[in-house]
Amino acid sequence: MAGEVLVSVERVWRSYGELVAVRDLNFELRRGEVLGFLGPNGAGKSSTMQMLAGSLAPSAGRIRIQGVDLLDEPGRAKAFLGYLPEQPPVYPELSVREYLRFCARLHAIPRSAVQAAMDRAMQRCGLTDVADRLIGNLSKGYQQRAGIAQAIIHEPAVVILDEPTVGLDPIQIREIRNLIHELGRDHSVILSTHILPEVQTLCSRVLIIHRGRVVYSDSMQSLDAGLGADRLVLGALRLPDEKLLANLPGVTGVEMLGGNRARLRYAADAEFPARLSVAAVDGNWGLLELTPERKTLEQVFVEFTSGDAPGAGREQAA
């Protein structure tokens, strides 16, 4: 993807007194990308999100939004930003409509365009039915939606969402995911979440941060490809015995799972599953199942945020 760079983060550090929360963070985000921002609690995720949103100043380094430096010209840079903090920033005493009108004006939408912007944001976030109710009387899910509506009301180039699906019911989660997916087409989205499947379905890139450092950064495609299938589960009515399976060309390991299923490891070879299915038909095994087993994002996450990083285990035990 060759969209223009909307967010560029260069050598950003942030410390709170002695504690270094974020160290030497670098990344770029282009138009049309959805970046999944992952990390265990206390990894520096929220600090980074706050810095990107301009509500926290970095101790060192540069953040530019659409080429505008967030520190030098905060007013101009923030106009390109929409931010949903962890806690939806809503005023309980206002109705949804009043709240969004305030947010629209706050983001310098001209008076004449406010109504249209409000209607669009309410419609996109499914708030039209509760437009005149007080936010304080709405459920957590609706408050969350009001928070999202606030973040997109001024059609910002960059939308930053900190755990947007927390507290929503499954149907709302689906709707919000669709919304994020839609936003990802012509904005760029930075999404922080603990729900890994969410990242897998929504994001085009993943960034894992641990103890203030980026420990993993890659596009979703290469994550899929690089960590791709090297194992598969075979199920058959008349499953051959372990020995026969181990002797098949390309197989490097066999593990019998019981119930007519076996897990095969094989040397990286895209042709292998096809050859296996031919062998199954030729041998009349009664093929039931042939499932590639991918390394999940969860495995990657655990791998990068626990064992390898020095001293990590100690902190997690605490």
Binding site: Y16, Q50, A53, G54, S55, L56, A57, P74, G75, R76, K78, A79, L81, G82, Y83, P85, E86, Q87, P88, P89, V90, Y91, P92, E93, L94, E98, F102, C103, R105, L106, H107, A108, Q150
Partner: protein, 253 residues
């Protein structure tokens, strides 16, 4: 003037929040009730003593001295107690509920945020002072009233209340707990109010610092530039402190 425009947006929202809560109405009602009581008591006393004064003095003290000045003087003390309740939520509540993030991520400067909050308070306080002013004005029906002196007194009351509000706004930036903000504002104001008690009559520094001294001159009908400057300086200093404080939070914590 983008900052000003933005602060008006914030001020509008703040007034909306204020008048949607029972707080504003309660404050208006109770202040009005207490001051109306004082007003009637003074009026009664005036009616009784008027004939006695007339026997001894060629120019007896009028309604200005006997009704308006005591009323406004009491009003300033009521303000001392009421303003902390109005200012306590301003920033502390935003911090506690996390809505401050909304203001910070919006293209609004910290100055814009602080000014917006302050403007909203000024509007409310102006309303309070005007409602109060209606009482002495009703005397016009049956007595001579020095309108210039009343105006000076009301303006003085407004300035005092505005100075209270700026101090309260600053206190509200220091904490996440509105109640703590209210109590510390009250303490600070009382200190500033009574600071001249320390030095007695001769100490010019403490009496210059006292919020009370400057107000009393205005109640006498003396509207001096020095007093006006004093209040403007107090207001500016507290607003600047608030801006500094909020900026500092963004930079280092």
């Amino acid at each position: 003037m983008k900052t000003l425009e933005m602060s008006l947006v914030i001020a509008r929202k703040e007034l909306q929040s204020l008048f949607f809560s029972p707080l504003a109405w309660t404050v208006l009602a109770i202040v009005q009730f207490i001051l109306a009581w004082i007003f009637l008591v003074q009026l009664d006393a005036f009616a009784e003593t008027q004939s006695q004064y007339a026997m001894y003095q060629r120019t007896p003290p009028g309604v200005g001295d006997l009704i308006v000045a005591p009323l406004l003087s009491t009003a300033s003390f009521v303000m001392l107690m009421v303003v902390p309740l109005l200012t306590m939520r301003l920033i502390a509540e935003e911090k506690r509920s996390g809505t401050i993030a909304l203001l910070r991520s919006a293209p609004v400067s910290t100055t814009g945020i602080v000014l917006g909050k302050f403007i909203a308070l000024l509007v409310f306080l102006a309303l309070l002072v005007l409602l109060l002013g209606a009482m002495p004005l009703s005397l016009l029906a049956g007595a001579d009233l020095d309108l210039g002196r009343l105006a000076a007194g009301m303006l003085g009351l407004f300035l005092v209340a505005a100075a209270f509000a700026s101090a309260g706004l600053f206190m509200s930036t220091l904490t996440r707990q509105p109640v703590v903000a209210a109590i510390s504002t009250f303490g600070l104001l009382l200190l500033l109010w009574l600071i001249n008690a320390a030095g007695g009559e001769t100490d010019t520094l403490t009496s210059w610092l006292s919020l009370l001294e400057h107000y009393q001159a205005m109640l006498r009908g003396v509207f001096a530039t020095g007093d006006l400057v004093y209040y403007l300086v107090v207001i500016t200093v507290f607003l600047a402190f608030s801006v500094r404080r909020l900026d500092a939070e963004r930079l280092q914590r």
